[in-house]
Amino acid sequence: MIQSAEQYLEELKKRLKRHPDKDEILQEIAMHLEDEMAHSEISESQAIGQFTRKFGEPAQVAAAFGAVSSGQPNAAKRNIVYLNAVLFALGLLLSVGVHMKWPYFSNTWMFLAGYSWFLLLGYSGLWLLIGFLFGKEFGAKGKIILAGALKLALIPNLLLMAAALFGLLSSSWFSLLLDNLFMISCTMITGLFLPASILCCRFGARKAV
């Protein structure tokens, strides 16, 4: 049972653990607590009980702050870069496996090649969804955060595309998947990722509040 303002703040401090905004949150809530106490005419232990009922237990307050931190935009950016890096690495592994004639890789490649347009649409849809979610989560700032994340995340895609277009990679590596039409479509669609994701981000931002 919390008996004093100091004890409440100490408990909250423990619960916030490694929250990046811990000090600022504690300072802000300490001021709120001070105001509440200053306007109270009852004993501190009664007042803190009243405060806890209105404000919430330290564990509840810390949990509410758990999903909100100034580190969120950077974490979201990192996750997008990692997600694309994993997808890219899987694609690369598959290409190498086919080229090296590793067992099972050719069958997988053949299977996926039958759905190449579907894969392209699915991958594009993923970026549109990410755009929408960034808008919903980060509101007015979503566009800037998304643009930063996309520019970083798409570096491997652009490098690979440039290498394929300028003949730095043998076309035999992708011959089953990359006919000319598909290659041109990939280039055009990749060029549209940023504006299309930002458009979806705007739709998402409408749901932000």
Binding site: D21, E24, I25, Q27, E28, I29, M31, H32, E34, D35, E36, K54, F55, G56, Q60, V61, A64, F65, A67, V68, S69, S70, Q72, P73, E137, F138, G139, A140, K141, G142, R206, A208, V209
Partner: protein, 109 residues
């Protein structure tokens, strides 16, 4: 008192509305909200701060610390241009929704 779920979705709208008038700190927001609604709208105070922080991350409000004549500095929140535009958008949406519900309820009573 109202159903908490009804209030939950409108807390951010009310906060943006109050901040349109002037920059305020958390305790002040709670007090003004309580006074103006004759204490019918009692926001769970512990959820107000995460909501304010979220609005700040989203760019709809900005915060700044201001030294008081007496005592420690306070953290104030103020509306940004994006917040102003979001407030207009959400107010319009809310008005349309409540008009619709009112007219539907009016028809059935």
């Amino acid at each position: 008192m109202f159903d908490r779920e009804l209030l939950k979705g409108s807390t951010s709208l009310l906060v943006l509305q109050l901040l349109q008038e002037r920059p305020m700190y958390g305790y002040e927001i709670v007090q003004v909200l309580g006074d103006r609604s004759a204490h019918a709208l009692n926001v769970k105070e512990g959820t107000l701060y995460p909501a304010l922080h979220k609005l700040e991350i989203q760019g709809y409000v900005e915060s700044f610390w201001q030294q008081q004549d007496k005592g420690k500095p306070r953290k104030y929140y103020k509306l940004t241009a994006e917040g102003e535009s979001k407030l207009g958008e959400k107010t319009k949406e809310w008005t349309q929704f409540s008009n619709l519900i009112n007219s539907m309820l009016g028809k059935t009573t």
